[in-house]
Amino acid sequence: MTIATKVPVITLNEVSKRFIIRKEKSLKERLVNFGRSRKHKEDFWALDGIDLDIEAGTTVGLIGANGSGKSTLLKVIGGIIQPTRGVVRRRGQLAALLELGAGFHPDLTGRENVFLNGAILGLSQKQIEGYFDSIVAFSEIPDFIDTQVKFYSSGMYVRLAFAIAIHVDPDVLLVDEVLAVGDEPFQKKCLDKIKEFQQEGRTIVLVTHDLTTVQEMCDRTIVLSHGKVIFDGDAVEGVAALRANFATQ
């Protein structure tokens, strides 16, 4: 690889995340089950001692079975979930596209949400004003920009969310399965944009079940299983490793 591989942007050191699932949430349930509380708790390690360096300019695919910890890992990197143990460090501007319409307020219009969402992703009001037309153009929904977001279709949601996220000028872009919602031309547009991002030396961390995309786009694949890294390396081999893992289960 080139110079790109020498500069880490994200480092994870012994990162573990334990989830405790309490089955009761109300006071009554807790009082009734007091003392037997252990029975009503389940805990498991969603991430288990992950050591990882992600270098600037690479595109990393996180793959694994459902519940293997991919999305949790992405959220830990994004700072949305605090790890139980270990440290996540990162540098550069980060934008996260996790699930649908991150942070849209359903009662506000598309326009108001662009400003709110832009601010959440770290843009100033002035910058958003400058990018506004370009954001709307990319999303291709100018007719609906003054409509309340709750009337949007899921495709329109994603279009607007994606359009905002790419205008943040991120050094690191976290993407979690969002692209599956748009129609084919828009998916292609997004993939083209991601390719452009790669050319510009941005780092992309991608969670997906679409193994073809992974093989096409990623420099590196990390395969997770039960919160552990079971493979880390070339994309084609990674996909093979995941399939082998599926076969053993």
Binding site: V7, V76, G78, I81, R91, G92, A102, I120, K195
Partner: protein
């Protein structure tokens, strides 16, 4: 597999990143003192976002109603009317409290601020679940945004209150106004502390929001909002400890200070018609609690300490918000 990064744009970006220091992802460290200032700094760097969140709360509140913001006037005015008619006239509180309308409305205004801060911030984290699960912003912003929007509504009510005072022809232009200001500061201080604490706790124990509703109802009647401090003193005449306990409530002190500032008639001798014996019904000025200014200062300092504790609790609890919501 795509070709390795070779062009100059990319190399420039990477060279720039190479110089940046690493920062820990998510909330600042949970160390005791540094953590608190880290949290404060985090909020300050996001103050334009806080501003937007406050606007969003205000905008979204009456978004689909045709009267919109008029509703923020209608509710307190209705309450004023109810208390004025039911308690003031029917139950006769107005016979012993001069300028009862101004009295009750100043109490309702300052209590309304407190009530709205607590009630709306308690559910603020849950109400913003969509955001908290998907992006990292300092989570303190959500309860603080609730406080901001409560302050905005309080501002509107203050305008109504001041208008009412001017209409009744007794503008309280005196040093007592500083009491009103101090009262607002104390209310906001306790509001911030409780907002941080309750909003975080409510994520883990959803009963908090209902408990809070009940507690607010109790404290409303345990504070001199619709009845006067003088009436409490009359009841507690032979048992001084009752008044002492009553004054332990920070809100009681804040409300009394606010009334002292805004309700001029309370500090004067008034004659309200004739009493049962046919003599003029003379109402002596309110015997405000001794050292009210000192009490407010002490409460303020305690409030600041509570904010510190609440922020520490909040930052410990917030690590798991995203999965508990």
């Amino acid at each position: 597999m795509r070709s390795p990064v070779t062009n100059t744009v990319a190399q420039e970006r990477i060279r720039r990143i190479e110089k940046l220091p690493f920062v820990a992802a998510g909330a600042p460290d949970a160390t005791l003192l540094g953590g608190f200032w880290g949290g404060v700094r985090d909020v300050i760097t996001h103050k334009s976002l806080l501003d937007l969140l406050i606007r969003r709360e205000l905008k979204a509140r009456y978004k689909d109603s045709s009267l919109g913001f008029v509703w923020s006037f209608i509710r307190p005015l209705t309450m004023l009317l109810i208390y004025y008619v039911a308690i003031g006239q029917f139950l006769g509180a107005a016979r012993s409290v001069p300028q009862y309308a101004v009295f009750v409305y100043s109490g309702l205004t300052i209590w309304g601020l407190y009530n709205e801060i607590i009630a709306s911030s308690t559910t603020s984290i849950l109400a913003n679940a969509g955001l908290i699960k998907k992006v990292y912003v300092p989570r303190e912003l959500f309860p603080l945004a609730s406080i901001g929007s409560a302050l905005f509504n309080f501002g509107i009510q203050m305008i109504v209150l001041l208008a009412a005072i001017v209409v009744t022809g007794q503008f309280p232009l005196s040093w007592n106004l500083l009491y009103a200001l101090a009262a607002i500061v104390v209310v906001v201080t306790y509001g911030i502390a409780l907002a941080l604490f309750l909003s975080a706790w409510n994520v883990y124990l959803r009963d908090i929001q209902y408990l809070v509703e009940v507690a607010l109802l109790i404290f409303f009647w345990a504070s001199p909002v619709v009845y006067a401090w003088t009436q409490v003193q009359t009841v507690a005449k032979n048992h001084a400890w009752i008044a002492d306990v009553y004054l332990l409530n920070p809100m009681t002190n804040a409300i009394l200070a606010f009334q002292k500032g805004m309700w001029e008639a309370g500090s004067k001798t008034n004659v309200l018609g004739l009493n049962a014996a046919g003599k003029p019904n003379v109402i002596k000025p309110v015997d405000w609690p001794a050292h009210l200014d000192f009490r407010l200062l002490v409460l303020f300092v305690i409030g600041l300490a509570l904010i510190y504790v609440a922020q520490r609790v909040f930052s410990r609890l917030q690590g798991n918000f995203a999965q508990e919501i």
